[in-house]
């Protein structure tokens, strides 16, 4: 009972903060609201029996990805002043979005109405880190490897993109 209430509360928080995040002019605020949204989502994950994923959600999204965003925002000195100049979505530009949202909402409701499984509630259940680890490294070992490769590719790619001309020239001279 309490859990259900908390779920709706968290869901509302997530929706509101996300909505606030996307209408911010200042990207720093957007990031902060999003962090809140991520926290709410992480708690929902916890409620849904995924404590490990909830923790990872906080560590990875809030602790690393959003921090990276902040880092870039600050490094580029996208101050509220300069941000104000560049991005100001007028009311008109939201109309197609609203339209899309309406269509999507109708479709979702239709889908839910059609799907018998959706009627079921989500049972109380929770996955221990042990279950999680076993499944991850047995059934999904290949996926883990592929993801690892992808991460290393991304590291190399980011390094390459991040090289400035001067550093690139220096590296070529060295090699």
């Amino acid at each position: 009972m309490t859990a259900t209430l908390i779920f709706y509360l968290l869901g509302a928080v997530a929706l509101v903060t996300t909505a606030l995040a996307i209408i911010q002019r200042n990207p720093v605020y957007a990031v902060i609201y999003l962090v809140k949204s991520i926290f709410a989502l992480a708690l929902i994950f916890y409620l849904l029996g995924a404590p490990l994923v909830a923790a990872l959600q906080v560590i990875v999204y809030a602790g690393a990805i959003m921090v990276l965003f902040l880092f870039v925002i600050m490094m580029l000195e996208i101050t509220p002043v300069s941000a104000r100049k560049s991005s100001a979505p007028g009311w008109l530009s939201w109309t197609p979005v609203v339209l899309v949202a309406l269509v999507l909402a109708v479709m979702t409701l239709l889908l839910i109405g059609l799907d018998p499984v959706a009627e079921q509630g989500i049972p109380r259940w929770h996955a221990t880190p042990r279950d999680f680890g076993y499944a991850l490294f047995n059934e999904y070992a290949l996926a883990v490897k592929i993801i690892s490769f992808q991460l290393s590719f991304a590291a190399v790619g980011a390094f390459h993109i991040g090289l400035t001309e001067r550093r690139r020239a220096r590296m070529e001279k060295d090699s």
């Binding site: 994923v53 990805i65 959706a118 993801i147 992808q150 991304a154």
Partner: protein
């Protein structure tokens, strides 16, 4: 039983639409990326809900993989943002239209 699955799906859909509309409407590159993150989160929520519904850990693993992919994506994307900012001193996506027909 915490909550009906459909409510969770509605929540995820709304989050997804919010993220998508952010990507569609905003012109700030960083905010567009944030919209992408929101969408990925919404997808993760569906995965977690499905995992709980079927009481299978697979959905949670998918979320973990999703996070890894997101991390890679963000690394590249932010590097690109820095690069683009170096070129134009701005991250307004409307300025980067050299690929137009």
């Amino acid at each position: 039983m915490i909550v009906p699955m459909e409510h969770l799906l509605v929540l995820a859909t709304l989050l997804f639409v919010l993220g998508f509309s952010c990507v569609l409407v905003r012109r700030n590159l960083i905010l567009i990326l944030i919209g992408v993150e929101i969408m990925i989160n919404a997808v993760g929520l569906v995965f977690i809900g499905a995992a709980a519904l079927w009481q299978q850990v697979d959905g949670q693993i998918m979320v973990l993989l999703l996070m890894a992919i997101t991390a890679a994506e963000v690394a590249i994307a932010l590097a690109l943002v820095v690069h683009l900012h170096q070129r134009k001193q701005s991250i307004d996506v409307g300025l980067f239209d050299e690929m137009r027909g």
